[in-house]
């Protein structure tokens, strides 16, 4: 996962000078967690704009914001950091789609110019929706839609689904390593725990190169 968050969790612990079993000592553990949060925050700032140019990222962000808007039903893809997820994944597992983004975002601006005389980011939400409606059956829109879903609903490790915005929207109760019969029943569902897979320290993170 190194390329997605800048630093892997294992490195974080190592940098914090804590190794192996020591992380289970509770007071030490919470201190380390604090350090970890700082490091993750740092890494996240560093990871802004990793692949796309500033205008490309701005256009993509506006597009994500219309695909899953913030509205009466709560925050959307921008708040979940889906654009950042896409941007840094385009240097990793989604690198094969970099060219499609360059061409697609350019075409988006061209279409916006033609229809409303301004680039996509400068349009009103209603105008943006009109431009997107024109391309909604095409491959670029569906590529971005798919990646916006990934960035909104993925494990927070990848920089998306920030603050569990995506999981809360659809009611996913969070990662549990052991699920009881009651928690699987329709009448007694599990409560939300806001846990990522990697909150369970037994798992290592391994980089995956190919994605879609």
């Amino acid at each position: 996962m190194t390329s997605h968050t800048g630093v892997s969790r294992r490195q974080l612990f190592t940098r914090a000078g804590v190794a192996g079993a020591a992380i289970f000592a509770m007071p030490e553990f919470s201190r380390v967690l604090g350090i970890r949060q700082q490091l993750v925050a740092q890494a996240q700032t560093q990871m802004q704009m990793r692949t796309l140019t500033a205008p490309e990222l701005a256009a993509l962000t506006a597009m994500c914001g219309r695909i899953i808007p913030a509205d009466a039903n709560g925050p959307g893809a921008i708040e979940a950091k889906a654009p950042q997820y896409i941007d840094h994944s385009l240097s990793g597992a989604l690198a094969g789609a970099r060219q499609s983004y360059a061409e697609g975002l350019a075409a988006l601006d061209a279409g916006s110019q033609q229809k409303f005389g301004a680039p996509f980011v400068k349009l009103t939400p209603a105008q943006q929706d009109a431009v997107l409606t024109d391309i909604q059956d095409g491959p670029f829109f569906n590529l971005v839609r798919g990646h916006t879903l990934q960035g909104t609903f993925c494990d927070p490790l990848y920089g998306g689904n920030a603050n569990f915005i995506g999981w809360d929207l659809i009611g996913y109760p969070g990662v549990r390593l052991n699920v009881t019969a009651a928690e699987q029943n329709m009448s007694t569902p599990a409560t939300r725990n806001h846990k990522s897979a990697y909150d369970y320290l037994m798992f290592s993170k391994t980089e995956t190169m190919n994605g879609h």
Binding site: W167, Y172, R176, L177, V179, N185, M186, F203, M209
Partner: protein
């Protein structure tokens, strides 16, 4: 120049679901086995419950062999290639794809072994579809009952028997062939959702039962019971409840001291002498090439790689590829028709966020020859299966059933309300082999070693299409009976690279139409065997792996008895 290694008794190429099982009876018989595996060992720490990683990206295995040799596909010899798949989810690791498969562990039904004779007897010979090259298996299901039983015990299969020595128990599958005893463990539990689907099926007069799974439901040997965490679908098991060969037969075989597993060893050819007998195999590990001599070789690298390895192993004795002097390698290829799904929207939340795809309700009333085919336009049928398996990205990617647009505020409101209210059934339908469905080497596309990848030339025919439509009708009926308010049907799709790929090295009595004999050994090369669904000539309506493993045990046991004659 390849480094020559010390001779061993048996080399197994691929330590997956099939090769990993075959190693055990050989090692237990005191035979020296070298297991050559392209991948590495993986363990619980590698199995994070992470949907993006497991389901949307290529698995982060150290060796991306399956990924680097994804077969190409074209529907027929005159058609251009279809777009190449981005990901093929077969695993390269000790345990192979049994590490992250769904682990449904089915026995086939008796009809699957006798498609030609039983169809002819019951409905007349004209009911065998035109152009199909289907044959009866060289034996009936009775022959492999013992091997099904052994493997169920070794890998740990949970389920409920429906027929023990002829006594029918409606809590299990009443259509199954007689088994000698109950499953080693009771079935995976049912939730209220499962109960609801089961009673709907009963209301239709059908016979629902819990599907069998190579998943522990209580501690079994040194492994725990299932934790139902929801990431079993293309995920490895963090508590070793899944009976992959990496945690069952392989370590057990290694304990005998007779099996050594060589990891990151990628076999490039099987070598023969002037008399056409196998002398050993050549493999690449790192940048080095090795030659491992052996008395006999078992090829167990999954269908595409089994066929490719034979076709690439050319010699004076076998100018068109090993064991291919009858031109049968690559023929009789088929893949399970698992497309043509049905998706339903319910008015209530199903709480399907946890569980696993093997935790399900199965119906076999419309599978194989469970029903009278006199008035339908196909032979065979499908297993209908509903289960509890949902993860956030795919849940949000749900079909909107024409009730909402695909994006924007209205979409968001729709998924907020309905992400846990839909379900998609898994339906495996009979597929038959046909003259013009086959595998060969791609003339253009190569792997990183510069070797051609496998090329699939195949398409579904009327029998598969008609069976699929019939099963969609039945599934829709079932969902509606359980209260579904909307239904959509998916297309059957193409026959591109599959996780249920059969044929290519078919097993049968005649060398004219089959590559291996009734023991899984080559008709042309006495000391070469092939393991995997590539030897199966029919698919039936159930997943292949338990049958693959039963056959692998049987071949290995036969080889152990006859090795001294080789």
């Amino acid at each position: 120049m390849a480094t020559n290694l010390k001779k061993t008794d048996v080399v197994i190429i691929g330590m997956g679901a099939a090769g990993g099982v075959a190693a055990l009876p050989l090692a237990q018989a005191g035979i020296e086995v070298v297991g050559l595996e392209a991948g590495t060992w993986l363990a619980a720490k590698d199995f994070a419950p992470d949907e993006l990683r497991n389901n949307f990206r290529a698995w982060p295995q150290a060796i991306q062999k399956a990924q680097n040799e994804i077969p190409t596909h074209r529907p027929n010899a005159g058609a251009p290639s279809s777009p190449r798949l981005a990901i093929h989810p077969m695993m390269n690791a000790v345990g192979g794809t049994s590490l992250h498969y769904w682990a449904q562990s089915w026995r086939l039904s008796p009809w699957d072994f006798k498609v030609v004779s039983e169809t002819t007897r019951r409905y007349g010979a004209s009911r065998i579809p035109k152009g199909s090259t289907v044959e009866d298996w060289p034996f009936g299901i009775e022959e492999i009952e013992r091997f099904y039983d052994i493997v169920e015990q070794e890998i740990g299969v949970s389920g409920k028997a429906g027929n023990i020595n002829g006594t029918i128990d409606p809590r299990g599958n009443i259509f199954e062939a007689p088994r000698k005893r109950e499953f080693p463990m009771p079935p995976l539990r049912w939730s209220e959702w499962h109960d609801r689907m089961a009673s709907a099926a009963r209301g239709l007069g059908w016979h629902p039962f819990p599907g069998p799974a190579a998943i522990n439901t209580k501690s079994y040997g040194n492994r725990s019971g299932c934790a139902y965490h929801g990431y079993c679908n293309r995920g490895g098991c963090h508590v070793n409840a899944k009976g992959s060969t990496a945690v069952t037969t392989i370590p057990k075989a290694m304990k005998t001291g007779k099996l050594s597993v060589v990891t990151q060893a990628s076999v490039t050819s099987i070598n023969v002498d002037g008399n056409g007998r196998v002398t050993g195999v050549t493999y690449v590990k790192g940048r080095e090439e090795f030659f491992q001599p052996a008395t006999a070789v078992l090829l167990a690298a999954y269908t595409y790689e089994n066929v490719r390895t034979l076709l690439l192993s050319k010699s004076k004795a076998f100018p068109n590829g090993l064991s291919n002097n009858h031109g049968q390698v690559g023929r009789h290829y088929l893949t399970h028709a698992t497309g043509g799904g049905v998706t339903a929207l319910f008015p209530m939340k199903l709480n399907n966020w946890y569980g696993l795809p093997a935790q399900g309700v199965a119906v076999d009333d419309w599978a194989d020859d469970s029903f009278d085919h006199s008035s339908v336009d196909f032979i065979g049928g499908g297993n209908l299966f509903v289960y509890s398996d949902r993860r956030p990205i795919s849940a949000a990617g749900m079909n909107t059933f024409g009730r909402a647009p695909a994006w924007g505020s209205a979409w968001k409101a729709f998924v907020k309300e309905n992400a846990d209210k839909w379900h998609g059934a898994y339906m495996q339908k009979t597929t038959l082999p046909y003259e013009d469905n086959y595998l060969d080497l791609d003339p253009e596309v190569k792997d990183p070693l510069g070797l051609p990848v496998c090329r699939i030339t195949a398409d579904f025919k009327d029998n598969e299409r008609n069976a699929a439509t019939f099963c969609q009708d039945k599934m829709e009926q079932w969902y509606r009976a359980a209260g579904a308010v909307e239904i959509v049907r998916g297309p059957l799709g193409t026959m591109g690279p599959s996780t249920h790929a059969y044929g290519g090295t078919r097993m049968g009595k005649s060398a004219e139409t089959n590559v291996v004999n009734e023991w899984g050994l080559s008709h042309e090369v006495p000391n070469l065997g092939v393991l995997g669904a590539s030897i199966m000539g029919t698919s039936g309506a159930h997943n292949p792996t338990l049958t693959v493993q039963a056959l692998a045990w049987r071949t290995a046991e036969y080889l152990a008895r006859n090795l001294n004659k080789m």
